[in-house]
């Protein structure tokens, strides 16, 4: 699937408009709409984002300089690459480098379950499995994750592990394994307030047997 070059208009902190052209290579990931409350940002070194300045493969924007659509909240987690608004939806597709196509063969979602000096273990579940129970455990070397992702390596961190076939424009084909850490926005006081309200409502009326025996 080839998607056309897209342009995104955004306002910077000072209110002036700017444009950035994003080159998007073809890949086979599904486009998913952002959740109503957060923008899920996936970073990997395969993401390509060229700013006006065209400096390197990273573009740093102040939190306010983000693509906006009515009713869409945007997560702010610092100086990550932002996947742009394309054709009315936020895409959390990892964008391949120019000239590179990645075809996923198998994907798992999981969480970091243990960290040692040079390795970490991840409990995973295949995304095509009926179950949501992560029963398989995989051990990775810390060297397999980028320096940029290292701060995200914590117990409980959500990861997506993809094994796929990479095809370059030169014709070269190779099997690759990519591990992506999902950058979910931090818990906020508002989130917790809502959670507390749900908890209180659930616990209200429950019959706690502090006295009787079976």
């Amino acid at each position: 699937m080839n998607t056309p070059l897209s342009s995104v208009a955004f306002d910077d902190q000072n209110g002036s408009a700017g444009h950035s052209r994003i080159e998007q290579a073809q890949d086979d990931y599904d486009i998913r709409k952002a959740s109503s409350s957060v923008l899920d940002i996936i970073h990997s070194e395969s993401h390509a984002w060229q700013s006006h300045s065209g400096t390197g493969s990273f573009a740093q924007f102040p939190p306010s300089a983000l693509p906006r659509e009515a009713g869409q909240a945007v997560g702010r987690t610092g100086t990550e690459k932002i996947v742009p608004l394309v054709n009315g939806v936020f895409t959390n597709k990892p964008m391949a480098k120019p000239g590179r196509t990645l075809i996923p063969i198998t994907e798992w979602e999981g969480y970091v379950d243990g960290i040692s000096d040079d390795k970490f273990s991840v409990k995973v579940v295949n995304i095509r499995s009926k179950s949501s129970v992560p029963v398989d455990e995989v051990t990775f070397d810390k060297d397999e994750i980028s320096e940029y992702d290292r701060p995200l390596l914590k117990e409980g961190a959500i990861v997506r592990w993809i094994i796929g076939r990479e095809r370059l424009d030169t014709g070269q084909v190779r099997n690759v394994s990519e591990l992506h850490f999902r950058r979910l926005p931090a818990h906020s006081k508002e989130d917790y307030k809502r959670a507390h309200e749900e908890a209180s409502a659930l616990l209200k009326g429950i019959n706690w047997d502090n006295e009787a025996e079976c």
Partner: protein, 286 residues
């Protein structure tokens, strides 16, 4: 084969085994106990290859009516290898009195579970789903929940109540009071301590410290269920607290479900010296 009315049977389910007292489940562990006279108790839950609670499949295979004959169900703690399928088990075992760690009584803890559920992660469950579902089912059915801490009596039957005419008692051995208070205090600080950290799946390092180890006493014999309780330095927590609290109180256990899947961080020499017999049956679920 169904046990006789005057027999006590303990069946332990774990992954990948199908021998003697083991049953098979895909992941996790659970225990099914015939107390006597056709009454059954279930500890924890795990799923079999058909994604069904292994305990229910086992009991139905024996011809047991789970709706009426299971009198007690409990969760030793909230790690998902101990609770998968528990909501369905509770829903179907309509006569069972449910008990669980007292943390579930605390709004702070339930809010902690809810906060982790509110995430845009579609595939992976975030660690609290099953327990929240259990609470909803029990609330809707107006069934009582017994919160468990150290020394809580879960159930008992006097001599003569059951066909084997022995006294039966199931008692919680943990968490200790100090363990419970520390956990609630930390969970209460949850939003502040997690600020600026990306959301993730529930991963509280102390979850095993809230594990409910249990002692089943039948006459003068015991079965010690270690759950995932760990050994920690603090003498008022973990297995140190259990040993200290049970010192001089019998009976010693002939059967020991080794805690935390045989992990070294759950080993305590004093448990083996003071709480189990010299040559116990020791069972590990890997």
């Amino acid at each position: 084969m169904k046990p006789n009315a005057d027999e006590v049977e303990v069946t332990i389910f774990g992954p990948g085994y199908g021998e003697c007292m083991y049953g098979e489940c895909m992941y996790g562990e659970c225990m099914v106990i015939h107390i006597g006279s056709g009454k059954w108790a279930i500890i924890d839950s795990c799923l079999d290859d058909a994604d069904e609670p292994a305990s229910l499949a086992y009991l139905r295979g024996l011809g047991v009516s789970v709706e009426s004959d299971v009198i007690s169900g409990r969760a030793s703690h909230w790690h998902d290898d101990h609770v998968k399928g528990l909501a369905k088990t509770i829903a179907e075992c309509q006569s069972a009195r449910f008990s669980c760690g007292a943390a579930l009584q605390a709004a702070e803890f339930v809010a902690f579970l809810y906060a982790h559920e509110m995430q845009p992660v579609k595939k992976l469950d975030m660690g609290g789903t099953e327990l929240l579902e259990c609470l909803k089912i029990l609330k809707a059915s107006k069934r009582a929940i017994k919160p468990l801490v150290e020394d809580t009596l879960i159930f008992d039957f006097d001599r003569g109540d059951l066909d084997h005419c022995l006294r039966v008692e199931m008692r919680a051995l943990s968490p200790s009071g100090k363990q419970f208070e520390d956990f609630i205090r930390r969970i209460g600080n949850f939003p502040e301590t997690s600020e600026k950290q990306p959301k993730g799946r529930i991963s509280d390092p102390s979850r095993n410290h809230l594990s409910v180890a249990m002692l089943l006493t039948v006459g003068d014999q015991g079965v010690l269920f270690g759950a995932d309780l760990e050994q920690v330095a603090d003498v008022k927590k973990g297995w140190n607290a259990v040993v200290d609290n049970r010192r001089g109180r019998g009976p010693r256990s002939h059967v020991f479900k080794v805690p935390h899947h045989g992990s070294h961080d759950a080993h305590n020499d004093e448990v083996w010296k003071e709480m189990v017999t010299e040559q116990p049956w020791a069972v590990v679920t890997p």
